[in-house]
Amino acid sequence: MAGVLALVGSVVLLGVRPDILAAYHYNQYTVAATHLWVLGFLGSVAMGAMYQLVPVALETRLHSERLAAWHFVLHLVGVAGMVWMFWRWDLKQVGHFGSALAAGVALFLYNLGRTLRTVPRWNVVATGITAALAWLGLTVLAGLAIAAAKCTYESLETLPPGHWLRWPLIALQATAHWLGRFDPLAVMHAHAHLGGVGFFLMLIVAVSLKLLPMFALSELQSPRRAGAALGLLNLGLAALVVTLTGRSRFQFVAGGVLATGLILYGLELRAILRARQRRGLDWGLRHFLVALGLLAPTALLGLLLAWPGLPATLLTTQLETVYGWLGLAGVVSLTVLGFLYKIVPFQVWYHTYARHVGRFRVPALADLYSERLQKVSLGLVLAGVLGGALAAALASTGGVRVAVLVLALGLGVFVTNLGLMLRHFWRPRLEPLAPPRAAPASVSRT
């Protein structure tokens, strides 16, 4: 719920300030809105879902629900404060709230790390999730370092010798000096890729290798190919972060390695879908497939932007915005919206109906929401994302407003569908069991 509220807030910000997309992205409003979208919406939902999905996908139990609750509190305080302070461009306070967020992420990593240690059968999914967690830790550290690099440490002059704050401040100042050797824009791009590709995309790749076969009644077709895809993604990302930070001409090569990993991943997904037993796919899964469809143009655009010696013009800098928008608002957000159609109905069903199974006729998960609204919402959100990309490329504030309006309509339909699901908490639909029917026994007789 916190994530959905943050998404609504992000869209409101885009409507109020369309220049967030239509102007060059290195400004306080774009940075604030991006963090609200990425940490507030995507981060909240992804990390919340991981507490539920990782134990399911890896057949184990979560180490501690109590730590998860503390993480949630620190996450909310951290994100709200960071976004507010980014908007005011008070980087010192961003660092303070970012530290609260980082403390929450540390709890998250510890909790899931302990959970992963109990996995009975280590597999490619567990490897991918571990990699995503490692990249998340690096993303947060890089973010804190970037904030530290933008601060001044004049209080070091006034603090008495031996004061407990001196050493942390000296460490922060040293970090700031070291990071000052790099181009701040390049460092910010590296930070964005650590989070966007390292955490979110890696997580999508890993979890989908378990959930897509599960929901489509299929199987992983080639663990070797899936492993190679993950390996190339990690290798390519590590190289990309280094080459981006150093503004190296080899970032195109690093991007090529990443793209090769994505191609292998795409081939594995295609094989899984071809081998599926369930012919019709539900619209939650179709959200994910549409998101994957957007991954191809996003990756191609990323490769184009990594082309050695590409000049920085109004068009190319706006294309950087389009790349980020398609990746985060398109690929990751559509995937998250699709998986919310799996997670929310399950939670509602579990808390409302699980105890009535065998006693009453309870609705199926798909009965909790409207498929028609799902289709309408997907169409509008997709139109909004594509329209936003076009408007950003053209640097058109009017175009961004129209696209955001369409996106907001799509999200409104999505929230309505969410309301239909949550209504079952208050108005459960229980029916008497159907009378037994005469049917031939079809199991082994003992």
């Binding site: 890896l58 057949e59 369930r278 579990y350 105890r355 065998g358 609705p363 199991v443």
Partner: protein, 101 residues
Amino acid sequence: MKPLDETTVLDALRQVVDPELNCNLVDLGLVYSTEIRDGHVRVVMTLTTAGCPMHESLVEGVRTALRALDGVREVTVEVVWDPPWSPAMMTPEGRARLGLA
């Protein structure tokens, strides 16, 4: 009163539906065997995937549905993973319900 036999037990298990697939456990082919002895019903079953989030709910649903039958004094449910479930184990009714290939 209906006699407590396998047909009665399977009919009761048809009342337990996997909410993700919207198909009952018998037609999904999740029930491997049933055994009835002096009011004690033993069910050997599986789930579509190990680590299924519905595991506890479905197993408890099986117990509840069987305890409601006349003559049942005790229910034992054993969840096994060998042989692993595959869609080939579904009944024609189940396959039709899911629109399987």
